[in-house]
């Protein structure tokens, strides 16, 4: 396989690194001013009492919206810079020749850092299996990449803190590795659409771009605009609902239906999460408010993983290359793994 080097046209803006630095300074100042500003508006300017329900909800909303939007902009930028060092082509090269087991672990970890859009799931699937990467290893990648995505991770970090975020990433990895490994052991190659096995990639030129730091900064800024532009409304609506729950729903109101003792709440949360795919940004603030009112962590984590990991659009896209039996196994194995994780956390935490 030959490598084709292409240089993108050099960016002429010499001041770009300086602008990036200034943006970081402004970001840090703004981030530290949110809390006093939200309190000042709610309690001083608008004059709500500290203990009033509406005042509490409003201060919560005015604090969380700018905080999450700032976190998203800043961290999507940082993550996108990191991702310019990875590409699906490089990931495929790294996975080539790895056996099942080790390969599943590598695929799941690389799934986190490799730039991925579920709209490209089909070419990626074909390109992986056609180059000889085992089916199960390919699935580990295809499960980890959307589940542990930047928007979900950043919002979890902003609303739940680093411990829950860490648990989420870890369980996402374990689910991707285990589900991929199981699918691999089921020898389901014959349930891949026949045309996939007949495809022969062409001359084999692989695009390998030489990127300068200016390119990386520009591309990262493009993804900030694209991602924040796409999710900001869901974030605002999700936090508004969350703020309402925060101010108006009594403490421990949800223990009975979403607490540890309600065994059926975990599978119910998984089912509820499947159709909510594109609303992950809106679902996380609501989940955060539910947990404050007595929903248990395992149930909430299961819900969020189902929202992001079991996506209806991606399943429909993958149907182009997978026969219905394999689609059913794919969805079933992930759903079972998420339910298991939910029960496990409800049991041990």
């Amino acid at each position: 396989m030959t490598t084709l080097s292409t240089s993108s046209p050099p960016s002429s803006n010499k001041l770009l690194p300086l602008y990036a630095f200034l943006a970081i300074v402004i970001w840090l100042i703004a981030y530290n001013l949110i809390q006093p500003f939200a309190d000042w508006i709610s309690y001083t300017v608008l004059g709500f009492a500290h203990a009033s329900r509406f005042g509490e909800s409003l201060a919560f909303f005015l604090y969380d919206v700018p905080k999450i939007l700032l976190l998203l902009s800043g961290m999507v930028f940082a993550i996108s810079i990191l991702r310019t060092f990875f590409s699906p082509e490089r990931t495929r090269a790294l996975l080539g020749g790895k056996r099942e087991g080790v390969g599943n672990v590598f695929a799941a970890v690389l799934g986190i850092v490799t730039p991925f859009c579920s709209c490209s799931a089909v070419p990626l699937f074909i390109g992986f299996v056609e180059s000889g990467i085992p089916l199960g290893v390919t699935f580990s990648f295809l499960i980890a990449a959307p589940t542990i995505n930047e928007v979900a991770v950043i919002m979890l970090f902003g609303l739940f803190g680093w411990k829950v975020t860490g648990l989420y990433i870890l369980s996402g990895l374990v689910i991707a590795i285990a589900a991929g490994f199981i699918i691999g052991k089921l020898n389901m190659e014959r349930y891949v659409e026949d045309f996939v096995w007949q495809i022969k990639s062409g001359a084999g030129q692989v695009l390998d771009e030489k990127l300068t730091w200016n390119h990386r900064i520009e591309r990262a800024w493009d993804s900030v605009k694209e991602i924040v532009g796409k999710v900001w409304l869901y974030v605002v609506v999700g936090i508004a609902v969350g703020a309402g729950i925060h101010g108006y729903v009594p403490e421990s109101a949800l223990v009975g239906i979403m607490g540890k003792a309600a065994w059926w709440s975990v599978p119910a949360a998984v089912l509820l999460g499947i159709p909510l795919y594109s609303n992950a940004a809106g679902a996380i603030p609501i989940a955060s408010a539910l947990m404050e009112k007595g929903a248990s962590l395992g149930t909430v984590l299961a819900f969020m993983m189902s929202v992001v990991g079991l996506s209806l659009p991606e399943t429909i896209i993958l149907r182009r290359v997978l026969k219905p039996q394999l689609i059913a196994v794919f969805v079933g194995v992930i759903a079972l793994a998420i339910i298991f994780t939910g029960y496990l956390f409800n049991l041990i935490l």
């Binding site: 292409t6 730039p115 991925f116 490209s120 070419p123 990639s201």
Partner: protein, 83 residues
């Protein structure tokens, strides 16, 4: 005469790449044929893993993102010089 191919099965980003390319071809008044490649077996001949892909005279110049108009102009200019 340039042959420009936009690879992708009709996703939103693929359509935007096609629009950008057509606009620039018009602005530079190039003699070029812009072809949309939407069938996977055909797309995979270019050995790409993410769409949209942009191919100028059978050479891949971009995959998995929407290139800036300035980039497309540069690629088209250099393709003209080679041809």
């Amino acid at each position: 005469m340039l042959t420009i191919k936009v690879l992708g099965s009709g996703c939103a980003n693929c359509k935007r790449v096609e629009q950008i390319v057509r606009k620039i071809v018009k602005e530079m008044s190039l003699e070029a044929e812009v072809i949309k490649v939407t069938e996977y077996p055909e797309i995979m001949k270019y050995n790409i893993l993410s769409t949209p892909g942009l191919v100028i005279n059978e050479k891949i110049v971009s995959t998995g993102r929407i290139p800036a108009p300035a980039e497309v102009t540069t690629w088209l200019t250099s393709a003209l010089e080679i041809a």
